[in-house]
Symmetry: C2
Subunit: 330 residues, 2 copies
Amino acid sequence: MTRIVQIGLGPLGQKVVRYLLERPNLKLVAVVDPAPDKVGKDAGELCGVKRLGVAVAKDLRSALRGRKAEVALLTTVSDVRRIEAQIARIAAAGLPIVSTCEELSFPWGASPAVARRIDALCRKHGVACVGTGVNPGFLMDFLPSALTGVCQKVEHVRVQRIQDASARRVPFQQKIGAGLTTAQFRKKKEAGTLRHVGLTESMQMVAHALGWKLSRTTESLRPVIAKRRITSGYAPIEKGMACGVEQIGHAFVGRKEVITLEFRAAVGEAKSFDAVEITGTPNLRSVIEGGVNGDIATCAIVLNAVAAIRKVTPGLKTMLDLPPVTCSRS
Amino acid sequence: MTRIVQIGLGPLGQKVVRYLLERPNLKLVAVVDPAPDKVGKDAGELCGVKRLGVAVAKDLRSALRGRKAEVALLTTVSDVRRIEAQIARIAAAGLPIVSTCEELSFPWGASPAVARRIDALCRKHGVACVGTGVNPGFLMDFLPSALTGVCQKVEHVRVQRIQDASARRVPFQQKIGAGLTTAQFRKKKEAGTLRHVGLTESMQMVAHALGWKLSRTTESLRPVIAKRRITSGYAPIEKGMACGVEQIGHAFVGRKEVITLEFRAAVGEAKSFDAVEITGTPNLRSVIEGGVNGDIATCAIVLNAVAAIRKVTPGLKTMLDLPPVTCSRS
């Protein structure tokens, strides 16, 4: 039984708590969220489940008063710069950390100075820390890297995550820009709310796994335009409107493109799937039909990573440094 | 550059050497094989490539005279009992070991006493040791285990490795019993030469990854019978004859079947594929279309595991203890 403190009780943190309560090998002992409408309330009730007798604390110090935790789950921000101070406090409390912070999944490429500082403070306090999730953390980085384990040679890695958003929740369809005009889409793009965070981190992680020194990476984001009237979503989308978003990452060694990551979520997409395609010896194409449900998967992998983070030496880790994260309940 | 000693120069060991020579980060410094027709000959020439200036030695002691190696690759036997003494000598020389010994991939279930002894002697000499390969070692154990990383709950794991042997080498078609009468097949089965070794080890490894205590495992082996005349192989196979082999493993917790592994190789099989099917939250089906080429993959994963085996603490490891094995050339 591992004693857990959950830090961050937004929608994702709440789902992590609900999943945690199903696990016989994990015990929620404390919850932190500074939001005034949450502090002091029962964490279970806030998460829409039974009363747990665990009140949400405003900070880690008060959360751990009189309680002993063993691992911290950190589901707060996507930005590695903003998470540094949070990690500093948790590390100082001597707790290993599993976080959903996207940029933390592989900060060595884009933010090496921050990565070095986080690594140093984790080592100083003797704790390990990892950023994970379904993507980044698994589908576009860990999984293709692990699949190259049976390759003698790798020339190119392509990952596609294609999702038909027709049956997804309305907020998800809105989030990907379905039903917007191209002008509205552009505005939303500029506001930064459309962007999937982590594509660059995934490319850096794959490159690291293969020992490639990347010369550059690029990311593009564009609307998927409805080629006909689409009626499979929550509201009809006229021809010429945005029905979703496509984000593509390219990574190069010299002038040669070696990694291509494609993320597309659109209403009316023909089918959902996650595919890894390795060009090499041998060629290899692995497909997860229907795709992995991202909401379930991110919460699950965070909980599954608890056992792995306790097995490694102190420091900032990535999914390439941990033994394989598996769904163990013992 | 990691300095390698290759132990065992059968067909698999020879292919490992050929692949090793393509790797800029590995250097072959010594080769051991006690076969009188190999001792003293140039290892490169025996492997059908250029002269390497590395003579095959009769034992490890003479192989390492005046040479310093860093990792041993061990491709000799499938039986964990027979490999124990070999590991003892390599460990005493202070070398970490990557082996293709099928039973070594997860000996904790079927041969716990041998596993404990190997673990103890590796620890004593401060080296790590792992058994790996495409299967066991990857497709039916590591890969399904790693895929559960995104699951909140797992009820059942099924892995299928289905191969159309029509285009495979004649010895492979003969090995799987293609063209035999059912009586001839039975005789070959009793001789034990048909059996794929490692199904039980793979089931034990998956169970370990998921924290399941298995109550029992079973393995069955039967001929695949031609339902019509098959002409896609190296020789026609009449209706009613064996066209290949099917081996199925079942693992149970209590009375409930929790793992099913199906290995089928037959001439005229409709298509080749490797599939992992997880029943749980979420359900997940991952398919490698065309299947993984086993000959390439086993040699590749052994070489890819060299970096990983140097990163872990001493002892007998499994693929669940190593950081992900990837195709890195640096």
